[in-house]
């Protein structure tokens, strides 16, 4: 976390740029996104719907829809560029080294096959088991790890409750002992109590298995609860990134600050919730300057013309905002 790691990061994403080519025009979904993920680290990727966070994650696994194009950047996993691999090598990386927990596990399971079979499938295809029978003990072990009795593996997804399906999804994601797990809105559709159970489970597994987790969510408070480091995205670009404490107690980007004010905080219920007026930018018709400028209270002439680049203004604290050019960060404490 705060101490500088000597080894290269586990995952090093540099200048990731992804676009969608559609009849309605080119959507600049992700532009020049860079971040690192250390071993055993939990990184929160936060932003509102359509900010490009899911697209960025799907780009890493090269699972974009057909209109999606990765037009630039690198994603180095232990030094290997994922974007340089051919398709069959990429298949070997998926799930074995980077796996993904999808939102709405309801639809992430095939309805006509048993949950156990779908977990075993991953093991068999990655050569970790010869056949379904050989995979069985591992499937039972995985299910029990997430608190589901092994016998329920022979049931179908529709026989599971929402929370159980999400647990089973986590079990499936861990099947091949990946180094990186990307959890894309893992608790969005769930009740608060089930959400707490799932988050606790994720935290425990991350600690015990030494996983590196990227938690994609729109919910800042979830990130505050479970992540080490946070990356805030807005309109396809990085807005701010730093350790979790910095984001919440010393937010620098105007967007981060506004977003925090929009969140209910039970520790200070006397405050008033504030919304951010305006709309997120249309990704096929971007403003020439900063993408947040049309909604920003502290907007300057420069913001409307020039796009701010991410800069490290404090140790480990990156901001893409003209207000925080190097050295200008000391106006806030």
């Amino acid at each position: 976390m705060s101490e500088r790691p000597t080894a290269p990061p586990l995952l090093d994403v540099r200048d990731l740029t992804t676009r969608f080519i559609t009849p309605e025009g080119v959507f600049h979904a992700v532009e020049g996104l860079s971040f690192q993920l250390e071993r055993g680290e939990s990184l929160g990727l936060v932003g509102e719907s359509g900010c490009g966070k899911s697209t960025a994650m799907l780009s890493l696994l090269r699972l974009l829809p057909a209109a999606g194009r990765i037009v630039g950047g690198q994603a180095l996993l232990d030094g290997t560029d994922l974007f340089g691999l051919d398709e069959s090598d990429m298949r070997a990386v998926r799930w074995h080294r980077i796996s993904m927990i999808f939102q709405g596990a309801m639809n992430a399971f095939n309805p006509v096959r048993t949950v156990g079979a779908q977990i075993a499938e991953a093991l068999v295809f990655h050569g970790l088991a010869q056949d379904r029978g050989e995979a069985q003990p591992r499937v039972d072990e995985l299910l029990e790890m997430v608190g589901i009795t092994g016998a329920r593996g022979s049931q179908y997804p529709h026989q599971y409750s929402g929370g159980m399906r999400q647990r089973a999804m986590i079990a499936m994601a861990l099947a091949c002992s990946p180094q990186v797990v990307i959890a894309d809105e893992p608790t969005t559709a769930l009740d608060v109590m089930i959400q707490a159970q799932i988050l606790e489970l994720l935290e425990r597994l991350q600690r015990e298995l030494g996983l590196a987790v990227i938690l994609v969510t729109h919910d800042l408070s979830v990130v505050a609860e479970v992540c080490h480091r946070v990356l805030v995205m807005y309109g396809g670009v990085l807005a701010e990134s730093c350790e979790v404490d910095g984001i919440f107690n010393q937010p620098l980007h105007p967007y981060t600050r506004r977003l925090l004010a929009a969140f209910p905080d039970l520790s200070r219920p006397e405050g008033k919730l504030v919304s951010i007026p305006g709309y997120p930018p249309r990704l096929n018709a971007l403003p020439p300057g900063c993408r947040f400028a049309p909604r920003c209270e502290e907007v300057h002439e420069r913001c409307l013309q020039e796009r701010p680049k991410p800069r490290q203004v404090l140790p480990g604290h990156w901001v893409a905002c003209h207000l925080h050019e190097a050295g200008a960060a000391n106006d806030r404490t």
Partner: protein, 333 residues
């Protein structure tokens, strides 16, 4: 709904439908003008006594549905009809002077041979082609498959039969009529089978082409929908190759609508059989209907309709049962 419940419900439903068909059949031939027994008994040229005697002989003096005048509630034309049916008595053909049941019995095997072969071929080809077209969505292959299917669907069955008959007999020397070569002595069963097969070739081909179009279109749209489901993305994220995804995840799920379609299409199949048998003089139930229409052989028409309707209902039930086996959401709630 438990599976047992589902099966019982479907079975009870089929029985009800058959009852409805029986009653419909009875009323069609009693109420619509044209039935000779009814018209004879009403012929004004006969004197009243003869008419009464004739009516009594055909049981037309009795009430139509329920006997409320006395002599037992069920002493009516309807129940007499049902009683005769229950004893396997479908009446006597005007044309052949033989029991209708007997004539139908001789011919039904030929129709089943034709329908089964055509259906099987159409299903296999339709499913395969549909899968391929959906997978290669919006490519020239897909467009070609759609145009072929729509055209095949638009062809009148009998006309396609005539075309194939002309082409087959002119260029390939295939037989054009009947089930086997008339007056031929077969050296072996094998030789006979080959001869029947040659006769079967063109009718089956006609049948297959006509059915193929719809199966392909439904399979295509069904696979398209499934390939857009979230669980396909999960499978891809798990590192499965395209072929593996198609085999393990798309095929079984896409078969569900096909099973329903096959059931719904049985009526269409029967219609096709009548036309194909007429064109190729294939000695089945279809050509029997054609002859009965030309010679106004009403008992045969009535019997054939009843047998066809009951077989379709039975086949529908079978399809429902297969559906119950394929879809786990019915198997285990």
């Amino acid at each position: 709904m438990a599976r047992r419940d589902y099966l019982l419900k479907r079975a009870a439903w089929s029985v009800l439908t058959i009852l409805f068909v029986l009653i419909l059949n009875f009323f069609l031939f009693r109420i619509l003008p044209g039935d000779p027994t009814t018209s004879i008994a009403k012929d004004p040229r006969l004197d009243a006594d003869t008419r009464a005697a004739l009516a009594a002989r055909f049981g037309l003096d009795k009430p139509l549905v329920l006997n409320v005048q006395g002599g037992g509630l069920f002493d009516s034309q309807l129940f007499a009809y049902v009683d005769r049916l229950a004893h396997g008595d479908l009446g006597v053909s005007f044309n052949y002077g033989r029991p209708v049941g007997e004539i139908l019995g001789e011919r039904i095997g030929n129709t089943v041979l034709l329908v089964l072969g055509g259906q099987l071929l159409a299903i296999i080809l339709g499913v395969g082609l549909g899968l391929l077209a959906a997978w290669k969505n919006r490519t020239p292959l897909d467009t070609g498959a759609i145009i072929f299917s729509l055209t095949a669907w638009s062809l009148p069955t009998f006309w396609l039969g005539i075309l194939l008959l002309i082409i087959g007999s002119t260029y390939f020397g295939l037989p054009t009529a009947g089930r086997q070569t008339v007056g031929m002595d077969y050296a072996s069963v094998w030789a006979q089978a080959i001869d029947v097969g040659r006769h079967l070739l063109l009718p089956t081909l006609t049948f297959t082409i006509v059915l193929l179009g719809e199966y392909m279109l439904v399979m295509r749209s069904s696979v398209l929908e499934i390939l857009s489901e979230d669980y396909i993305l999960t499978a891809k994220a798990k590192g499965l190759s395209q072929g593996q995804i198609l085999r393990h995840h798309a095929l079984q799920n896409a078969m569900l609508p096909i099973v329903t379609l096959i059931a719904l299409n049985l009526g269409f199949t029967v219609a096709g059989a009548i036309q194909v048998e007429t064109v190729f003089s294939w000695p089945g139930v279809g050509s029997l209907i054609y002859e009965a229409v030309r010679r106004q052989d009403y008992p045969v028409l009535q019997g054939a309709f009843l047998v066809i309707a009951i077989s379709v209902v039975a086949a529908n039930l079978a399809a429902d049962l297969v559906y119950g086996l394929l879809d786990p959401r019915i198997k285990s709630p």
